[in-house]
């Protein structure tokens, strides 16, 4: 893959070629440049702004005003309602149930998939056996196959195992579909570590698991963090698997959100809908803002998951 996974060009800023020459701040070029950037920035920020202001308005104000006007009277009631009492189907306990379901799905899926993929990547990088490349190729090609092609056979497998419709089933599915990109990520990372380390440990008599636990693991904290970001945001944002592989009581937040907003009965409460949307987006946004550059590295390495 030509996508940089290490501390590659993304993180590097070359020294400016015009470093010595003093530049005027208000040159025509700068006005054009920053004008364009600010224009684009406003376009990208607009939906976030609209979500926030809508979620803080009361319904009468929404019916009167336009979606861009700031709230005249700020109310947090829509947030409370979205979290605790909004209805989906027969349940009226808001998004809170979906939130906890998503937590119960995301945490184990992330941990298990990273654990398995890191050991896999380590085996592929340092202990390659005959045929390993073939399996790996199938895995990577498999990442491009539309999920729809594999969904039904998985339904059958899960049903045979007796875990179709449960959280366990969904956790397994997320682990499976996280496998290609994570294995690739770890394989590339472990391959990039100096081989002498591995050889020295071998000479000292360390085995497969010892080298993994005592040498590779402590050296790969950054890549573990990148993998975590990738998995947390990916799994939290999933909709299709949540809808296919779980029953309504286990629906993750995204599915529940869609049901709340797109339900046909009742008056549409746009402020509650937008508060619910923000609540659902809060976790990935939090991860994104906190992780900053690591997120960029993560998606650059994991963009194949698309």
């Amino acid at each position: 893959m030509p996508i940089p996974t290490g501390p590659g060009p993304i993180g590097r800023l070359g020294p400016g070629p015009a470093g010595a020459k003093p530049r005027r701040t208000f040159s025509g070029r700068n006005i054009m440049l920053y004008g364009a950037l600010i224009f684009f920035a406003l376009y990208y920020l607009l939906p976030l702004y609209v979500m926030i202001v809508t979620s803080l308005k009361g319904m009468p104000e929404i019916r009167m005003g336009n979606i861009f006007s700031p709230p005249m009277e700020i109310t947090f009631e829509p947030w409370v309602k979205a979290w605790a009492t909004a209805c989906t189907g027969l349940n009226c306990d808001g998004l809170s149930r979906g939130f906890w379901n998503s937590v119960r799905i995301t945490v184990p899926s992330t941990l298990i998939s990273i654990l398995i993929a890191s050991v896999n990547g380590y085996a592929l990088a340092n202990w390659k056996f005959k045929g390993a490349d073939l399996f790996f190729t199938i895995l990577i090609v498999g990442a491009f196959i539309p999920y729809q092609v594999m969904i039904y056979p998985i339904v059958i497998v899960l049903r045979e195992m007796g875990i179709y419709g449960t959280l366990t089933g969904l956790i397994i599915v997320h682990t499976i579909f996280g496998m290609p990109i994570l294995t690739l990520l770890f394989r590339n990372y472990f391959t990039s570590l100096p081989e002498e380390l591995f050889k020295a440990a071998r000479i000292d008599g360390a085995g497969f698991w010892q080298i993994y636990l005592r040498i590779m693991l402590p050296m790969s904290l950054p890549i573990f963090v990148v993998a975590m970001i990738l998995q947390i945001t990916g799994i939290w944002n999933d909709f299709l698997f949540g809808v296919v592989f779980t029953r309504p009581e286990y629906y993750p937040m995204t599915v529940q959100l869609n049901n709340i907003v797109n339900s046909v009965q009742g008056v549409k409460e746009y402020n509650v809908n937008m508060a619910a949307t923000l609540l659902t987006g809060a976790v990935p946004l939090f991860v994104y803002f906190v992780s900053g550059r690591l997120f960029v590295r993560g998606i650059a390495a994991g963009a194949v998951k698309g």
Partner: protein, 300 residues
């Protein structure tokens, strides 16, 4: 590399045993799910499975029916329009943003954060926000009307002719940040000396981009295109959140067709045939790419 360490052992199967044990999940996933699951679906797409999968082969019946279904034709058309425009616009906008970001600007981090944050959000969230902004009674249309243009009409989500463009707007908002990031990485990978040389020769900046930089970034562009395309074929959540395929069937997409036939219409055979067509589409895109990317070389 370490295989030789145990070369004396008689049984091949147990050589490097720990590594094989560690790879079991990968092997199972690759063979059972990715290979097995795909083959299973393809095989069953030639049966007349209804509520349950049954091995009752009917040849290409499902495919005949599929290509006679107006809803499927609509899905394909939508995907073609969405896909083509999404490719063009995300690459153009993404490259423009990347080029702007590469001008040694101040606050680069802030701008990058702003352009990329939509990508962190799910398609469901994206779809619902844009459903709200494009709402004819409160959103863009009503605002422009209140400014004085009382006959202004911009109502994509409720107009069957243009609904797919409404989906496109949201899709671009979500995805262009990623394209910018990938292309920016590509731009940063280009030697500073190229720029110096073109400056010395007095070549205008736009010409340098068009005739020197972009051709040099070919591999990055190809990867970006493959990533965007494989995402386009999967387009599902966004449509569900924004329009539920409506009005009528005007914004149906193949992924939704598959889901509806498998899990709602209980017509598995149709679902399998439609998903096999999706697989075929991806294969047509991926195989030439894989050939270009890995064809000549031995190692990936």
């Amino acid at each position: 590399m370490t295989g030789q360490a145990h070369a004396g052992r008689p049984n091949k199967l147990f050589r490097n045993l720990n590594s094989k044990i560690a790879s079991i999940p990968m092997i199972l996933t690759a063979l059972v799910i990715f290979l097995g699951g795909t083959l299973w679906t393809v095989v069953y797409s030639f049966t007349n499975s209804k509520l349950l999968p049954r091995l009752n082969f009917v040849g290409l019946d499902q495919y005949d029916r599929l290509w006679d279904a107006p809803r499927w034709i609509m899905s394909i058309q939508n995907l073609a329009i969405y896909g083509l425009l999404s490719l063009i616009f995300s690459v153009v906008i993404g490259f423009l943003l990347a080029a702007l970001m590469d001008q040694k600007i101040r606050f680069e981090n802030t701008f990058r954060t702003i352009f990329l944050y939509p990508f962190a959000l799910s398609f469901i969230v994206t779809g619902l926000v844009w459903q709200w902004i494009l709402n004819p009674d409160f959103g863009v249309q009503s605002i422009v009307r209140s400014l004085g243009w009382t006959t202004f009409t911009f109502n994509p989500l409720y107009d069957a002719d243009i609904v797919i463009y409404g989906v496109l707007i949201a899709g671009l908002w979500q995805g262009t940040g990623l394209v910018m990031c990938l292309l920016l990485a590509g731009l940063r990978g280009i030697d500073e000396d190229i720029w110096k040389a073109s400056r010395v020769d007095g070549i205008p900046v736009w010409k340098t981009y068009l005739f020197i930089i972009i051709p040099m970034m070919r591999p990055v562009f190809i990867t970006t295109l493959v990533i965007i395309t494989s995402g386009i074929v999967r387009l599902y959540d966004l449509v569900v959140a924004q329009t539920s395929g409506g009005p009528g069937i005007a914004s149906e997409v193949p992924a939704k067709y598959v889901y509806d036939y498998m899990f709602q219409a209980q017509n598995l055979g149709q679902g399998f045939a439609a998903s096999t067509m999706m697989l075929l589409t991806v294969a047509i895109i991926i195989i030439p790419w894989a050939y270009l990317e890995f064809g000549g070389k031995k190692r990936g």
